[in-house]
Symmetry: C2
Subunit: 398 residues, 2 copies
């Protein structure tokens, strides 16, 4: 019973099938269904250009109720005009018929190349097939079917006590390239059997996303189809959370744990990545400055190639912080690679190159920038920049 | 008499020598001397972290007079504490002694790896050697000596009529990686024999930089040692320009021509680059929006890898514009690759893949984003992102 992913909570079934949108029979249609109507919340890309499937979901989720989620990979259903909107609607209607619910309760996602219309015959065949295979053991297939250039499916879950009941939060995510704060090409679907009001569900998701999904960067590019959705069906039987008390805090902390786990998997699986990089800003004067520095360092191709090359070139980290737009005193700044001090008060600090190499050889590299100027700490995850990133992205469409 | 570069104008001599800061006897010390005191102006990196040699120059150029410029490559003289400031001063004093001028009239530059002190014995030996070789034919050597990962020296010049006199503007630049608006790791030195007041020289440089050096991006990283300097010695004998009349306009246009030529060379020689990419935003509502879009597209690793892969993946261009923060109507946006329309009113437009491939096979690729929403047009240059960028930057320090 070590179930994980979106079917870990009670009352969720899932499937992932192949319908021919991707080559070589790879899974490309994911379905998630809750046994009963679930409270639902979502966060969407801030990109001014938005995909048609995303637009549908962003609109319908305002009702606060969802029963099913259908996501296809292999085609973004973006920038194809009116047809894209009609296809999204048809996709929702077809799934709703099979789920026995209103189309408004079907949330959609499409990820893949932009500018090509969906093949609706394939989509419908896929949805039909997915409903046939729907199962409480379908989470892994479902997580597989939303992948684009991901090299492994991403799932997580956590079970905990809430108001005397055992509740579970599960989730899946896809990402890899085009990842940067504000949702990137990332799609994540979270599920829980906890009872919680729509309003607090949305608040919890926003709070958590800003410390997890919005804290990862692969290449600074953000996509037009990105979202994170959460469905809460209340089937664990806890007294629904309706105010920000202890139980809400417990729920948020558990949701954060699942979301951070998924986010770190996303960063680690950045296109071509060989390493997860955790960047920490410590003792900063305020949140805005901390965020500017994290962003600049996480996006810097020079920092990311240096980590790939196992080169303790801390000057690039300092330089990125310097041009970030953040206000700080460079003469008070310390920089650490792992636990090794490499720059003290803005000046080179003698360090053991052997030990630095040992740290850079690890799967996970931590960079700490200590500003000694306040109390704000924040962190962000990214990955190294490698030959394979170029390989993957130099020929994506072809 | 087809002289180009910094010694093209009358009264400038230059040299470039090797003093052992770089491996394999590559040239690493550049010297430029004006026969007489020149009016001088400069623009410097906005990075909050600044190199010690740059700090010296930024301070001393405020006097408006320069006689010599000394630039070393192979070591940035940055982030080494008080010692870095002392070394810069010593470098200026030593060169001043040989040039027969005050140290305040010697402008400095240091480019290379951060966090290591200058080897002052080598620097002094180099400066001495450079003075011995100083020549009106030394521009090419000088341009060579400021290179870091550049694959070719960058020089340009233009001769034109000004107030009945023949005047010349010359220039050299180095760049390659760490290049982005606000000077990057770029160093450029411009010279002219035109007579022009310090105030107007500074104004002309600022105007021109914002349309040339601040319009190139290689990887979005900016360095702590970046600058563009201009020395005007007035030896052409024109009546000095002291107000913004026709002659000022002629001077600015010529300076722009030289600066754009150098800037395009810098973008073309971006680390690992195989192509120059010109991005144009047309018919935009205002300057700010145009600039946001240009920046986002020029920095997008997904756009840059697509161009490398000769993949007409315009969705990435549109996506980058979308997340740029610019306000525009995606449903009115057209996108062109070269002269081929690939996206009309935000929707995929059928195009000839063969013709697109032909355009993407060229050395220079133009991307046009037509917003059909105003009258502002702007442009920016970048390069593709390739395997060699990773190779060069994964092992720079070692």
């Amino acid at each position: 019973m070590n179930r994980t992913g979106v079917t870990a909570p009670i009352g969720f079934k899932a499937a992932g099938v192949s319908c021919g949108l991707k080559k070589n029979d790879r899974k490309d249609l994911a379905l998630l269904v809750s046994d009963i109507d679930a409270n639902a919340a979502g966060i969407f890309t801030t990109n001014i250009v938005k995909g048609h499937s995303l637009m549908w979901t962003r609109e319908k989720i305002k009702n606060g109720t969802a029963k099913a989620v259908v996501i296809n990979s292999g085609c973004a259903n973006a920038c194809v005009g009116i047809r894209g909107d009609k296809d999204a609607e048809e996709m929702a209607k077809f799934a709703a018929m099979l789920a026995g619910c209103e189309p408004e309760k079907v949330m959609l996602g499409s990820t893949g190349v932009i500018g090509y219309p969906l093949d609706m015959e394939k989509i419908k065949t896929g949805i039909k097939k997915a409903f046939d295979q729907l199962s409480a053991d379908g989470a892994a297939d479902c997580a597989q079917a939303i992948m684009t250039t991901d090299t492994f499916p991403k799932q997580a879950s956590k079970t905990f006590e809430l108001g005397g009941k055992t509740v579970t939060i599960g989730g899946m995510a896809k990402g890899s390239g085009m990842i940067h704060p504000n949702m990137a090409t990332m799609i994540s679907v979270l599920t829980t059997d906890a009872g919680i009001s729509v309003e607090l569900l949305q608040r919890a998701l926003r709070t958590v996303a800003d410390k997890s999904f919005n804290r990862i960067s692969v290449d600074g590019d953000t996509s037009v189809c990105d979202k994170v959705l959460i469905l809460a069906n209340g089937m664990a039987g806890n007294t629904p959370i309706t105010w920000e008390g202890t139980e809400y805090s417990i729920f948020v902390n558990a949701l954060l744990e699942v979301s951070v786990a998924l986010s770190k998997m996303l960063a680690r699986d950045g296109e071509g990545a060989t390493k997860l990089i955790e960047i920490r800003v410590e003792n900063c004067s305020d949140k805005k400055n901390a965020h500017l520095i994290l962003n600049a360092v996480a996006k810097s191709p020079l920092v990311k190639t240096a980590v790939f090359g196992k080169d303790a070139n801390w000057g690039r980290i300092f330089t990125a912080a310097g041009y970030s737009g953040a206000v700080f005193d460079p003469n008070k700044t310390d920089i650490y690679l792992g636990d090794i001090l490499v720059c003290k008060n803005g000046t080179a600090y003698p360090f053991d190159e052997e030990k630095a190499l040992e740290i850079l050889n690890r799967d996970e590299v931590t960079i700490v920038i200590d500003l000694k100027d306040g109390k704000v700490c924040d962190r962000m995850w990214t990955c190294d920049l490698t030959y394979d990133y170029i390989k993957i992205n130099g020929s994506y469409r072809t």
